[in-house]
Subunit: 345 residues, 4 copies
């Protein structure tokens, strides 16, 4: 590492998003990991918890309160929501923080309470937080101290829809997002429905009927763009795969106009790739990468179209997005360390 | 086998639906397989082509023209479409036939030509054919000589929707079917996108925009029920699993009324199971069986609901359905040989 | 169910082997389930715990102590080891019991303590127990009150090796069993390494170096056949699949003689299928069934051969084997309810 | 790309190893792809054949004879064997070539004919070729014009065994390699047994009994080290996963000594990681990377041990290895572009 590297700490390094951060930073040319926390696995080496990282020279996992954060330039916080609030509140108030949890995504505290079931415990921090969907909040993120990364499902849906809502080329009251998510999005937690024997060779909807918490993000962001309340219909499904989110978005509008709108909006974006009209993406083609592929197809029913967006939930959907934000916050090139090609097959 | 067994031939026994027919008939108490055809594998034993069937005492695979069909009571035709037309035309005209191909599903010959790209070569047979969605055509199937089994995707969508269209409890112009299909539905054909290395850990839409041929069945059936032209929006997706179809159907209507309508319509159906309101099915719970699980959930947006239907594409979606029809055509109990419990995990 | 059905209870019905017992008994013509236990899920319906069984009319899950076992003819005990000992000790001493746990497999109590780490708590019951590898203990099982089913790995290895040891056609000191096991053999327990995200797209050895408990069974059985102490080398691997065990057994001997020995030994066995010389089995061809496929191939190194056995760990490896034993204990046809064809693909 | 980049051509870019080369070179700091060939897909863009590479600015696929190789510094040849011989024979004789096929691996032309079934057509080139197992042929590779990369299975077995044979710490006549290989090793070819529906949820041995062609490499290399003929027993298995090879190697010797020998031999190797004694590797921890993890465990039978090696067949097993060799041939740092962390989960 050069002397000009920025010094990084990762809180919650024993989860999948924590490990993905470490994987990406490992080949980032200007970041150096100097502290890793994992409460239940404190004292262990990262290479024992995640043997795929055993070739790296990494600090031993510590409890958060044991970390020495002096000289740290930026902290990634990959902790469960609710925990994040209290942990970040206790950090030095001038330390840059990229939070991967849901804690600071919703600007409206009442909305937070509605979706997460209890009052926010750090309302002042919430006011300070910038929503971390990089492509749409660049200026704010560059200036931010605390960035709240977008949820993986919420990011996928927004990449498909934001320019269309902005340009008003679709009917804002007729948006349906049918989303297919791989299992790593649920984390490394021990739940029966995440077992291989349960999930492999099976797939099913969950949190249906408008109950998934990422709807809070859709509501906030789409309404802000439209200048009025927008409510989408959203059904996530769990798919027997490890990585990937594919959102099939049903909209009303002209397919060609929709495609043009997206293609123009993302023409200069390094990670958002709009496929030729009529081509649709697959999760396999973005696996392990920070790319999002977006396709548009019209329908035999006039005035209807489908927009499909695919990304890797652990990369562009969380840890890659987080690193993209950190690059901006640290004054680096936005794409630094993130241009890894997808891994296929 | 008892002396009262019916004698069965399976044409096209070297494909997945052919093998599934043999699997099911193997434990059917009143059917006996006396002839099997497979042109490219003629001369081989079924147990060589499908080693999972090697314990069975089965006739050697023959070319269709070599088969001795004298004394055969019923033929299952599991051939590719287009081939079926010519093969069935050449069969004795009093032989009962259950066709698993798409050739005789569309009553309107112009619709057939539109969806399949060439004129129908056996229009007289088409007139005779009965559409094989058992639960809705029982009387006709009992009396039929030629039954055209429903396509697997088309069956799944119809189980979710027919009673709702019939009862007019949903908006008939606002139906979206987002379908997730396992790979065995594509058959045992050698295509790059069916390779394990391509499909595993990836999923994607295909035949989007209203181009999938099963739309011809939706159009025909839903329009017939409604008494006017109905056009649904339909996007199938290929999922990394071997068996299963899950249709997530977006409708406008009252969730509770929709649930009640389905529950009442299927109250006496042995294979169509409506889950309690708010519970949604998974493909893993119907695998290898003839059951279809159906769930309903309302949405946070008033007047919207989601109906989800799951079945095994090779069983209830094709070969199980075919056997169910054959039971009726042969004057047997409809469920005979079909009450096998799903295989989970 | 006919009046002549035998009445069955399943203890530990909320695990995979319990569910598999219920699946198999569901189409068994002469067994009726009258009681189901599951301590942590007592009060729930089986169809809620295992929705693939929701079409069955089953008793509600109860705590073991709540069960009414009067009139029960046979109990399947699908509990964790150690628990089985105490539960079976408390059952009426004339009740027939098929135990699927490891508790009563080892006749030598010292060996039990060595492999399971604590003294056996029911030594008298152990004396009474018959080892449940059906094909080799038929007479004893028919007369038994308590049968201890063989472990799934142990069964697979024994099917490959017992006739060869008996006939002394292989070198008894040079046996290596490299075994590949699907994940359902580890049960429905919440362990990190059983998560889909951990296991899918990965495979690895476990319990290597002679530490796997099923070695106790190999030691006992092979030594008994040989009349002297036999110790095999055994390395199990966890494979990203739900069902299946494949044992690749490296032996010294003449390939043709080995094949002949196995083919003759199993010529009349309904479930043990010896493939033609040189053909090797796959787990996919026995999935969901009670069959075991066995193949033999010689090696380019003279005097060496490989025997490969494949079965479904939940069926022939546990619940199917258990039912096969129960059929014998109840005076029924051994194959009753067990001739279901494998489910492929 | 800097002006000091080396200019690279990839022949056979439409297969998996070709695509993997492009993926790796995409982030290599000193290589630039200037030509890509693919006969059957000539005229197409690489991003159409492999959409995961669509973000890259790559030359259009051409037929080999259309390629302009002037100014090219090195060619990767990822063609099928037999084809490679004739293609490489026609290349300018001063052009550096890294061949990923089997054509130039066997120094003995009679051995080539034995394993590949026909005489070698370029015996002079064969004499010139250097065997490309980087860690053991570094000096020769640095000086070579033509390097023949090691087969993926052969590499895995050799990493586990070479230092042990060299140090004579194991019995050279008692080596068994039980290998588990993911499906991408079979390439993108259209074969029935590579279909998802065939392979998923199934696993099985293939090319058993000493018939797999990679045995030619084991024979050549192990015999050369030992100074006498060595013949190992080798059984590969196809596993339902996309990437990965895991070799379970049964040896006679002292476990601790074996571990020490490997640990010392690989102490300075950047990509060969010997795990602590008793720990065994998993394919999931090397996926997408150039690392090979190696573990050793003793056995309860004295004098026996198991060595387990895991690598990614497409990376360290072929394209990563090829790039490692190219780095040496071009005078670059051996690890350049290859230190990507594995992708897990």
């Amino acid at each position: 590492m050069s002397d000009t590297s920025c010094r990084i700490a990762v809180l919650g390094a024993s989860g999948y998003t924590g490990a993905e951060l470490v994987r990406l930073i490992a080949t980032h040319p200007a970041l150096e990991i100097v502290a890793l926390s994992a409460d239940r696995k404190a004292g262990q080496e990262m290479g024992a918890v995640f043997p795929h990282l055993r070739h790296l020279d990494l600090p031993t996992l510590q409890r958060i309160e044991e970390l020495d954060l002096s000289g740290v330039d930026l902290v990634f916080c990959a902790l469960p929501h609710a925990t994040s609030q209290s942990v970040i509140s206790a950090l030095p108030s001038d330390l840059k923080v990229v939070d991967l949890s849901a804690d600071f995504r919703l600007r409206n505290l009442a909305a937070y309470e509605t979706w997460y079931g209890k009052p926010h415990s750090a309302p002042d921090l919430q006011k300070e937080a910038v929503y971390g969907l990089t492509e749409f909040y660049r200026a704010e993120i560059r200036a931010a101290r605390l960035v709240a990364c977008t949820g993986c499902n919420a990011a996928t849906g927004q990449f498909a829809l934001r320019p269309l809502i902005e340009a008003e080329v679709i009917d804002l009251d007729e948006i349906i997002i049918d989303l297919k998510a791989a299992v790593s999005g649920a984390g490394r937690s021990l739940k029966e429905n995440l077992l291989h024997a349960e999930l492999s060779e099976g797939y099913h909807p969950y949190a249906a009927g408008g109950t998934h918490r990422h709807l809070g993000e859709f509501d906030q962001e789409f309404s802000a763009i439209a200048g009025r309340e927008i409510r989408v219909q959203f059904t996530p499904h769990l798919i027997p795969a490890n990585r990937g989110i594919l959102a099939t978005v049903y909209v009303r509008g002209d397919g060609a106009q929709i495609h043009t709108t997206l293609a123009q909006a993302y023409a200069e974006e390094p990670f958002l790739q709009v496929l030729p009209m009529g081509e649709l993406p697959s999760t396999r083609h973005v696996r392990g990468s920070n790319f999002c592929h977006i396709g548009v197809v019209g329908d035999r029913i006039a005035g209807r179209a489908v927009v499909v967006a695919a990304l890797d939930n652990l990369t562009k959907g969380s840890s890659g997005q987080a690193l993209q934000n950190a690059n901006l916050m640290l004054g680096m090139e936005e794409t630094m360390g993130l241009v890894l090609a997808p891994v296929f097959p």
